[in-house]
């Protein structure tokens, strides 16, 4: 029975074993990025280990989003070396980053407002689709089979994020917190090994934040996905992160487990807003 097949797909035993922090999968060394005369990032080095939740924090304009954009290939740093899965990266663009298993969500929601939740998440499967445009247009032969397989995966994501009741609702009609969840869903549909989340909780109320935290932890826990996260809410960051890197004015001022970072005087200064 179909049901049983699907149950075994979601079966815990067949997936990654218990979450344990593994080896370094992404290593950034001496990254500098400037736009003309403006230095966005200056000589930043840090690494991300497999299965961990790594947060990037810092005041506004610290270079956090630039850092994410460097990781998934939107920006190419002028200096520095990026090693991903043991390979030194030559040049990179977002498309190739995605094929290598990097997915992301955006600070400003970037969904197709007029399309349903289901279709939006389906777009996350884009890279996994093998058939050509012509086959898809005719919905014929292997395209049909492929579509069914992708739909199955998308339904698993919908089930995981508990958004069954809005499956067919156009995204534009949903409240902000749910839109954020749908965006996470689209990223998950790509079955990423590295998930970049750019302020997933910005503008949410307490309850929505709690939900989002739970989903982020569940993603990390159940799929073993490595997560790099930008977030302003310190409570959230300190609660769910394994390690935190702190940026300020494009420079790294702290790096370590949440407790270390919390007690770092430079970090406190940056956050309490002493004069520069």
């Amino acid at each position: 029975m179909m049901m049983n097949d699907m149950a075994s797909l979601g079966d815990t035993q067949t997936q990654a074993p218990d979450r344990h922090i593994g080896d370094v999968i992404l290593d950034l060394q001496g990254i500098s990025l400037s736009f003309g005369g403006v230095k966005a990032l200056t000589n930043i080095s840090f690494d991300v280990r497999e299965h961990e939740i790594r947060s990037i924090i810092g005041p506004n304009g610290a270079g956090k989003s630039s850092m994410l954009n460097v990781i998934n290939g939107v920006y190419r740093p002028q200096e520095g070396e990026i090693t991903f899965h043991g390979k030194v990266r030559k040049d990179m663009d977002p498309h190739r980053a995605a094929t290598q298993g990097i997915a992301r969500t955006f600070q400003n929601i970037a969904l197709f407002k007029g399309m349903s939740v289901l279709d939006n998440i389906m777009t996350g499967r884009n890279l996994k689709m093998k058939c050509n445009l012509f086959e898809h247009a005719l919905y014929w032969g292997r395209a049909q089979k492929e579509e069914i397989e992708h739909r199955k995966k998308v339904e698993e994501v919908i089930d995981f994020l508990e958004i069954q009741s809005i499956r067919k609702t156009p995204v534009g009609r949903l409240p902000y917190g749910l839109q954020k969840r749908v965006e996470l869903g689209r990223a998950l549909a790509a079955e990423p090994t590295l998930l970049l989340l750019d302020e997933p909780m910005a503008g949410m109320n307490v309850e929505e934040k709690q939900d989002m935290c739970r989903f982020i932890l569940d993603v990390n826990d159940q799929f073993g996905t490595t997560i790099v996260l930008i977030e302003h809410d310190m409570g959230v960051v300190m609660d769910i992160s394994d390690r935190v890197v702190v940026l300020d004015y494009g420079k790294k001022i702290g790096d370590g487990v949440p407790d270390e970072v919390k007690n770092n005087p430079e970090v406190i200064a940056a956050y309490l807003g002493t004069s520069h």
Binding site: M1, M6, T12, D18, L118, I158, D159, Q164, Q222
Partner: protein, 658 residues
């Protein structure tokens, strides 16, 4: 029924639910027994598959040491695997005990203790967490089996086990001892207890009601014959499994007739699932019908002018003749034509949106249904009827026969049931569907069944001239004002609750000189009303305190007063003063039962200050209340509540006002 003869031949043997299950697996193995929406697709299990799964669960439980007579707690939403667990437990001669899935852990302890639960089958991580929270206080609890493995990876407690693993164990056991389960099923007798359902605890601690196979089979047989149910029916199972109605409709009747039960995807998707399934047989408490109607009305208000006009016109037609057409009464040809057109343009599409296109029989019970509401559904051609019953009678006492529908009665005594009235108006019933006993409560059993074998329902009512039973109130709630006139709180409260703006009402008056009321506004309806009027509000407490809302509610109260004034017996109990509560009455705070009935005494105790203020005629009263949030934390709400007077009518004036 397609195989009535076949059934008759087997009738002697089909006297327990496990035997019925095996019978269906043999005679209609390919018919769908259950559907569940999972991953966006309806997954079907036919009777043969259900029987196999039940076997596996039963054998797995036996392997774990489940013995005849043991109780099995079952906690969760309506999931096929939980229904299978009920059947599996019965196969082993055990007694399934369903708990309300939204109860907090501390509330579950009582039942776990009372029923001496050693085994529990629960739905998911949420329920597992509750079980673990109270495991220390329930030392007997030895095995907790969970259906959904999601999030359970890091749980290593020895008492936990996945249902998949249990079934696997059961299959091996079944393979090694092929005769074991059949022998267990053969040991079952029709007078064995088939299920234990806990009363909601409106009156004191919940009591475990022990029902036999014979009782539920009798109730199911009577109901199925009465409404000519066949194995072709489809029913949506979405009401709590712990509730007697769900056990009758989704379990007993399905097991008896072999029809299909459909489990929704989640609590939020019930509406969509209802539309997709299009049940032929449907049960819902009045508030569900009310919510549906409110949603329709809100959407109609946003529709274009032409659509609104058409809707209004055809709803007028339906109001005039729809119910008569449904009842097969004579209706003029012109009206018939109009109704036919209306069905094409309005009622048909509307029923389709509501998921009611295929409904042959729909029932409501649990609370009184508003006449407008009832008439609305009947007039668009939904055969909505009322029934009357309680946990102790398998929810089976009175049913409204097709074509003899009265708004304010609950119908005639159902087949096999004998109903009579005590001298004080209390309704007494007798029949095969009566409870065997309350679990471990011989005192309560003796109290509730009188010397002649009648069960004392505790409801007050009377028969009208056509032999239809009318319910007024709980017999013990019916009181007297100081001037001696009758005070039936539920009767008044129900009248008020029929207004869409009012969600809950508690009235007081027994032994007092007048009647007063606490009112909860309906946040959705009043909120919409406020939005249309451009009123700003921040939440329930703020909205409830606004004077415009008080005016709105006073209007409703005065309409009820005018209505009460017409009836000489009731005219004395018009509402003199009322207040709008600053918070919604909530089951988490113990103010409502899990079936959302008001716990009158508890509310009276908790808000004693307010009651005094009402009767003393103060203008305002300050109140501080502790509220419990869903996660168990506590908070406080303080508010100054206004108390307002409502106009009352003398009997004659009432006639004019009405």
């Amino acid at each position: 029924m397609s195989d009535r003869n076949g059934q008759a031949a087997h009738a002697a043997a089909l006297d327990t639910f496990p035997r019925l299950l095996m019978h269906h697996a043999a005679v209609r193995p390919k018919r769908p027994a259950m559907r569940e929406k999972a991953y966006g697709i309806w997954q079907t299990y036919n009777w043969a598959e259900v029987a196999q799964n039940v076997r596996a669960i039963a054998c797995g439980l036996a392997e774990l040491g489940f013995k005849r007579g043991d109780r099995l707690a079952i906690i969760g939403d309506n999931r096929p695997r939980l229904y299978w667990s009920v059947a599996a437990c019965q196969c082993l001669g055990g007694i399934p005990v369903m708990l309300y899935q939204d109860a907090v852990a501390q509330e579950m302890i009582y039942v776990l203790h009372d029923a001496e639960i050693k085994f529990a089958v629960v739905e998911d991580q949420e329920q597992v967490d509750k079980m673990l929270e109270i495991a220390a206080e329930a030392p007997l609890l030895a095995h907790v089996i969970y259906d959904d493995p999601r999030g359970m990876r890091h749980y290593s407690q020895p008492l936990l086990m996945g249902l998949d693993a249990l079934q696997e164990m059961g299959r091996i056991h079944d393979g090694n001892h092929t005769d074991f389960l059949n022998a267990e099923i053969d040991k079952g007798a029709t007078d064995d207890i088939s299920v234990m359902l806990y009363t909601s605890g409106t009156t004191g601690k919940p009591k475990g009601v022990c029902q036999t196979h014979a009782a539920f089979i009798a109730a199911a047989t009577g109901g199925a014959g009465f409404d000519k149910l066949t194995d072709q029916e489809d029913i949506l199972s979405y009401l709590p499994m712990a509730w007697v109605g769900d056990h009758l409709f989704s379990f007993a009747q399905a097991m008896l007739t072999g029809f299909t039960i459909n489990c929704p995807e989640s609590g939020e998707t019930v509406m969509t699932d209802l539309r997709e399934i299009g049940p032929t047989y449907y049960f819902a408490p009045p508030r569900v019908f009310e919510n549906l109607l409110t949603q329709v009305m809100i959407r109609m208000e946003d529709a274009s002018a032409i659509k609104r006009k058409a809707f209004q016109h055809f709803m007028d037609v339906a109001r005039r003749c729809g119910a008569d057409i449904l009842d097969g009464k004579p209706v003029s040809a012109g009206d018939r034509l109009q109704y036919w057109l209306g069905n094409l343009l309005v009622y048909g599409p509307l029923k389709n949106v509501l998921g009611m296109s295929r409904i042959r029989v729909a029932y409501t019970a649990g609370a009184a249904i508003g006449p407008d509401l009832f008439r609305f559904y009947r007039s668009i051609g939904v055969n909505l009827k009322q029934l009357y019953g309680q946990t102790e009678t398998c929810a089976y006492v009175c049913l409204q026969p097709d074509g003899e529908i009265k708004l304010d009665s609950v119908g005639k005594p159902a087949p096999f049931v004998e109903v009579k009235l005590a001298d004080n108006g209390e309704i007494l019933v007798k029949g095969p569907m009566l409870l065997k006993a309350y679990y471990k409560r011989p005192d309560a059993s003796a109290e509730s069944i009188n010397a002649d074998g009648y069960f004392m329902t505790g409801d007050a009512g009377f028969f009208d001239e056509d032999g239809h039973l009318k319910i007024i109130d709980r017999a013990k709630d019916v009181g007297k004002l100081t001037d001696g006139s009758m005070f039936a709180p539920n009767y008044i409260e129900n009248k008020l609750k029929f207004f869409q703006y009012i969600k809950e009402v508690v009235t007081f008056g027994n032994g007092r000189e007048c009647v007063t009321a606490f009112i909860n506004i309906d946040l959705e309806a009043v909120g919409n009303w406020a939005e249309r009027k451009g009123m700003a509000y921040s939440g329930y407490t703020d909205l409830a305190a606004q004077s415009a809302v008080y005016d709105l509610i006073r209007d409703c109260v005065e309409k009820v007063n005018a209505d009460l004034a017409i009836d000489p017996k009731m005219s004395g109990s018009q509402i003199k003063r009322f207040l709008i509560l600053h918070k919604e009455l909530d089951a988490d705070d113990g103010e409502l039962t899990r079936t959302r009935k008001v716990r009158r005494n508890f509310v009276a105790e908790r808000y004693a200050v307010l009651i005094e203020a009402l009767f003393e005629g103060r203008k305002t009263q300050r109140i501080e209340t502790v509220v419990k949030y869903e996660d168990g934390r506590e908070g406080r709400i303080t508010a100054d509540l206004r108390i307002e007077e409502a106009k009352t009518f003398t009997p004659q004036a009432g006639k004019q006002a009405a």
